[in-house]
């Protein structure tokens, strides 16, 4: 079994003003297997976002270690971390976070064009393919203020996919979307996962979590329990059961 993420004794403390310190992550341990589809749940303020940012090297841990593909990321330089983010990781944000000066398709191509060896035409071709897959190919040359939330989030997913990452992180990617868009986004993510990309999502939504194969439950800076499920398959028409099962488990854990 190979782990894409292997985290040990993660601690994150933040200074609040003079001398006042808060302890957000408390000795968290976590492994994620290659190809896994994981979601993180928990009350607001329990440390889910903090966990995601520290695993992905966007924040620096106070203590502990995180190995990404077997490589300790805590000791890497800023530039090496940036390179890992560029080549091997994708991010999808709650706020979508697209660049304002670029059109949708340029936002998607941007991470691919940053590396010098990029071939513009094949990048462009790939971006168009991704947009077609996510159903936003008509909006390619639109400004980012001309699309709906769901459309923009699909562009965000395309951007995350453009460099063929090993893992995609999502911090409540469907939090601002209506239920129809949420459904569509989750089916896209399911497809991506099927093709071998590891995905880790933070979510509040039971319907979203029920479509993943492992759910972590966080309370006050700790992962208090896991729930393992079968990989979701739309053909099986069992989403209802999965949701009820999950909800029961969550209630048991004090959700």
């Amino acid at each position: 079994m190979t782990y894409i993420i292997e985290a040990r004794n993660m601690n994150k403390k933040v200074m609040l003003g003079k001398g006042h310190e808060i302890h957000i992550l408390k000795d968290v341990n976590l492994e994620i297997e290659e190809g896994e589809f994981v979601s993180v749940m928990g009350a607001s303020g329990s440390g889910k976002t903090t966990l995601l940012y520290n695993i992905s090297g966007m924040d620096r841990l106070t203590s502990g270690s995180v190995k990404f593909n077997g490589r300790e990321i805590g000791s890497l330089k800023e530039e090496e971390l940036a390179k890992i983010r560029l080549k091997s990781m994708g991010f999808i944000f709650h706020d979508i976070n697209l660049l304002k000066n670029l059109s949708l398709i340029d936002n998607i191509m941007f991470p691919a064009l940053v590396s010098t060896e990029a071939n513009k035409n094949s990048v462009n071709h790939k971006a168009k393919k991704l947009m077609k897959m996510t159903g936003i190919d008509k909006l390619a040359n639109h400004n980012i203020n001309q699309g709906s939330g769901g459309q923009l989030q699909r562009a965000g997913i395309c951007r995350a996919l453009i460099n063929d990452p090993d893992i995609i992180f999502g911090d409540e990617p469907t939090g601002a979307l209506d239920s129809k868009s949420t459904e569509e986004i989750m089916s896209i993510l399911g497809e991506i996962n099927k093709s071998g990309t590891t995905i880790m999502l933070v979510t509040h939504d039971v319907k979203v979590a029920a479509k993943t194969e492992r759910i972590l439950f966080m309370v006050d800076g700790n992962i208090v329990s896991h729930k393992k499920m079968r990989k979701y398959d739309a053909q099986q028409n069992d989403s209802r059961e999965r949701e009820e099962d999950l909800l029961k488990w969550l209630v048991e854990n004090g959700f």
Partner: protein, 784 residues
């Protein structure tokens, strides 16, 4: 309570507040100093005039002279004339005046004469503005020479010529209202009556007479002058009006004051831009608060007052500091006045009047702030919640698809696109760079133009290697003939042309006769640049200087006729061209040689020449200077520089000051701007980092954008400085006789050195400021 808000804002926008304070203070210092200096100038000029009692009409004359005729004339016109006095000038060539080890005054373009103090008016004063009373064996030397040759009281000068040799001890500076300026081409040395007499009897001097009139309060200078000429009284030489003396005295100080006021206006503009910049930044930060305040029902006026009070406080502080500092800086400016006009600058009127500058600045700033604050009116509570929706991703603005980018690395491309998309923001920086380039280039251009050989264009001289001036002496005609023969046989001379200037009666607009100096000769040999038309190539043609052709001169245009009296016969000449000339009060004329010399009134001869390539010009100059000791041999550059005198030095100071000010401003504002921009863009930067860009790549984007603004700003600044600058300078100079100044570009300075200086200093600032120092966790910015 307002005080507390102002104080908070001060702390929040420390750097920008300090810069605004700095720029306003600098503007106040400069403007106050300039106003103070001009007031001092006017005041001390009036005092000097009171003591020196300059003539209202001064007529130079060489040749036969009968005082009795003039006395009769004076009596006849006693309604107009209060006093008359004739001063005898003994002209001594500069090469005959020795000082220190073995230096002489040879090579000066000034006519030197020895005189005794007048009895009735036109007094020559010492530095305390007291009438000079020079003892036997002593001499008072004009300030111009004291300065130029670094002479001190107690030094000696020796006048040696033929059998005459006498040593004089310098007892005083001679402050000479009529002939102080380097623009007046005569200088008077004052000696004791007995020494003068001795020099008169055996001495080297060529006699010249200065026939001067002081008019009554109601006396009319035109009437007297016309009557004087009509009466056929001695008039072999130029005549000068009292107003001219004033102008010459004040000119260099006025010119410097104008440049300083221009710079202070530019500084104010920069302060405006800074205010706008800080305001845009802080209104962005305060948008929510403003929205909330509005929702709470606090009136717009009260909200505005909070911001306005900040700038009121800044202007007040800047006004006070600037005014106080100007008390020190004004001493850097009034050196010229102190020396030439009045050593005692005590008095308080100038300090009182110069309060106008800070007050004016205060009101201008407050007014401008009120205008900028109108933006608050437009902010609605709704808009307050959707911040910066205004600038980014504007619809309708042209797209620059990444796929179309063929030439730049993607990060440079992103930087350039950002400038295009948010030009409203970058515009501030852009204007600053243009203004700073302007402040550097304009003085450099003026300086280069004044010190270049081409400046001769504005002095009514064609381009030439060397010129020999023969001035009024008894031997002038023989010397002239001999010189011509010698030049004819000198193989080193490629070509030469001779010009004779004499005074002719010319009919003015009212139909009466005025004397005018007309130079005749072959003007095709060393052609001038004509503003309009061409030179007087054929018989019966004349060209006029700009000031002469203007309304207050003869009021003629190309094609008009001018009537001149030569040898008792009236001749009608056609005006063929108009040229620029700032010499001799700006009013000169050039006519075809066929007009004929007015033998009785020859003023001077000029020989212009070009050397064969490779001839050592300085050596040639030495040779002719020695061979013709009474002549003045100059190359054109030296000639123009001596005429412009200390204006060039003062301009040099302005050049250095301009460069320093421009660089300080550019560096400060760039740092300020980038700080604001980076903090404004903090979330966009975080997004790029999350995607996998390194800090270095992001820095490159901002560097590319600002560097492009810098480079384009500099290019535009240079172009504007050249075009607008020429226009401004021409306007200022047109009263002196030069209506269309074309700058001399020293290309490597205007297009290379100055831009390079700006690019390196500002580029370095950009480099340092763009270092996005983000040690923070990305989640701080990106988390939802």
């Amino acid at each position: 309570m307002f005080l507390k808000i102002v104080k908070n804002d001060f702390i929040r926008n420390k750097i920008s507040t300090i810069s605004v304070l700095l720029f306003i203070t600098m503007a106040v210092i400069l403007a106050t100093s300039a106003v103070n200096n001009v007031t001092t100038l006017i005041q001390s000029m009036a005092k000097l005039e009171e003591r020196a009692v300059p003539a209202d009409i001064a007529q130079m004359h060489t040749g036969e002279f009968d005082q009795a005729e003039i006395d009769r004339f004076t009596l006849q016109y006693r309604d107009h004339i209060a006093m008359q006095e004739t001063m005898i000038l003994q002209n001594v060539d500069g090469s005959n005046i020795h000082f220190s080890q073995n230096q002489t005054l040879a090579g000066t373009i000034q006519d030197i004469s020895f005189v005794v103090q007048n009895r009735k008016f036109d007094f020559i004063l010492n530095l305390d503005n007291e009438k000079l009373d020079v003892k036997e064996g002593f001499v008072a030397v004009p300030i111009y020479f004291m300065e130029q040759h670094d002479l001190k009281i107690g030094d000696t000068i020796t006048v040696k010529s033929g059998g005459y040799e006498k040593e004089f001890v310098i007892s005083d500076y001679a402050r000479d209202f009529e002939m102080n300026s380097s623009l007046t081409s005569s200088k008077r040395f004052v000696i004791n009556h007995n020494d003068f007499h001795e020099m008169f009897v055996i001495g080297p001097g060529e006699m010249e007479y200065l026939i001067e009139f002081k008019l009554n309060k109601n006396g009319d200078a035109d009437t007297v002058q016309t009557a004087y000429i009509e009466a056929g009284l001695p008039a072999n030489g130029p005549s000068i009006r009292g107003k001219m003396f004033l102008l010459f005295n004040a000119m260099s100080d006025i010119a410097v004051a104008m440049v300083i006021i221009l710079i202070s206006i530019l500084l104010l503009i920069i302060a405006f831009l800074c205010i706008r910049l800080t305001f845009l930044a802080s209104i962005d930060e305060d948008l929510r608060e403003i929205g909330v305040m509005k929702a709470m029902g606090i009136s717009k006026e009260d909200i505005k007052k909070v911001y306005l009070n900040k700038y009121r406080a800044i202007s007040l502080i800047a006004g006070i500091i600037g005014y106080l500092l100007s008390l020190a800086t004004v001493n850097l400016l009034n050196g010229n006045i102190k020396l030439y006009i009045s050593s005692d600058l005590s008095g308080s009127l100038n300090y009182l009047l110069s309060l106008i500058a800070p007050l004016l600045v205060y009101f201008i700033i407050v007014m401008y702030c009120k205008r900028v604050l109108k933006r608050i009116d437009k902010i609605s509570a709704v808009e307050a919640l959707r911040r910066d929706s205004i600038e980014h991703g504007k619809n309708g603005k042209h797209h620059f698809p990444l796929i179309k980018n063929k030439f730049f690395s993607i990060n440079i491309y992103m930087g350039l696109v950002d400038v295009w998309k948010r030009f409203k923001l970058y515009r501030l920086l852009f204007v600053i760079f243009i203004v700073c380039t302007f402040i550097v280039i304009l003085p450099v251009n003026i300086f280069n133009t004044m010190t270049s050989p081409e400046f001769s264009t504005y002095m009514g001289i064609g381009k030439q290697d060397m010129r020999i001036d023969l001035r009024r002496t008894d031997r002038i005609t023989e010397d002239f003939i001999k010189l011509q023969q010698e030049l004819e046989n000198d193989n080193d001379i490629e070509k030469f042309a001779t010009y004779v200037t004499s005074s002719y009666p010319v009919k003015n607009e009212e139909g009466s006769w005025n004397y005018m100096n007309i130079e005749i000769g072959d003007f095709s040999a060393f052609p001038l640049n004509y503003l309009e038309g061409r030179g007087p190539e054929r018989e019966g043609e004349i060209s006029l200087s700009f000031a002469n052709a203007a309304k207050d001169g003869l009021n003629k245009q190309v094609g008009d006729e001018v009537t001149v009296r030569v040898g008792g016969r009236e001749q009608s000449l056609t005006v063929t061209g108009i040229y620029q000339d700032i010499t001799n009060g700006g009013k000169t004329a050039k006519a075809n040689a066929n007009l004929g010399v007015n033998e009785k009134a020859v003023l001077w001869y000029i020989v212009s020449m070009d050397m064969v390539d490779g001839v050592n010009i300085p050596a040639k100059m030495d040779y002719y200077q020695n061979a013709y000791s009474t002549a003045q041999v100059n190359d054109i550059k030296e000639y123009t520089q001596q005429t412009l005198g200390n204006i060039i030095n003062q301009m040099g100071t302005v050049v250095i000051g301009g460069i320093a000010i421009a660089i300080i401003i550019a560096v400060l504002i760039t740092a300020l701007f980038l700080r604001m921009l980076l903090s404004k863009d903090i979330s966009q930067i975080a997004i790029m980092r999350s995607v996998g860009l390194t800090l270095k790549q992001i820095n490159h984007q901002y560097m590319a954008g600002t560097m492009m603004v810098l480079v384009v700003g500099i290019i535009l600044g240079v172009v504007i400085a050249n075009l607008l600058g020429e226009f401004l300078v021409s306007m200022a100079m047109s009263s002196m006789g030069a209506a269309k100044i074309e700058f001399v570009h020293i290309v490597w300075q205007t297009w290379l050195l100055c831009p390079l200086a700006l690019i390196t200093t500002v580029g370095w600032t950009i480099f340092m400021s763009c270092k996005v120092a983000v040690k923070d966790d990305l989640s701080v910015v990106l988390r939802s």
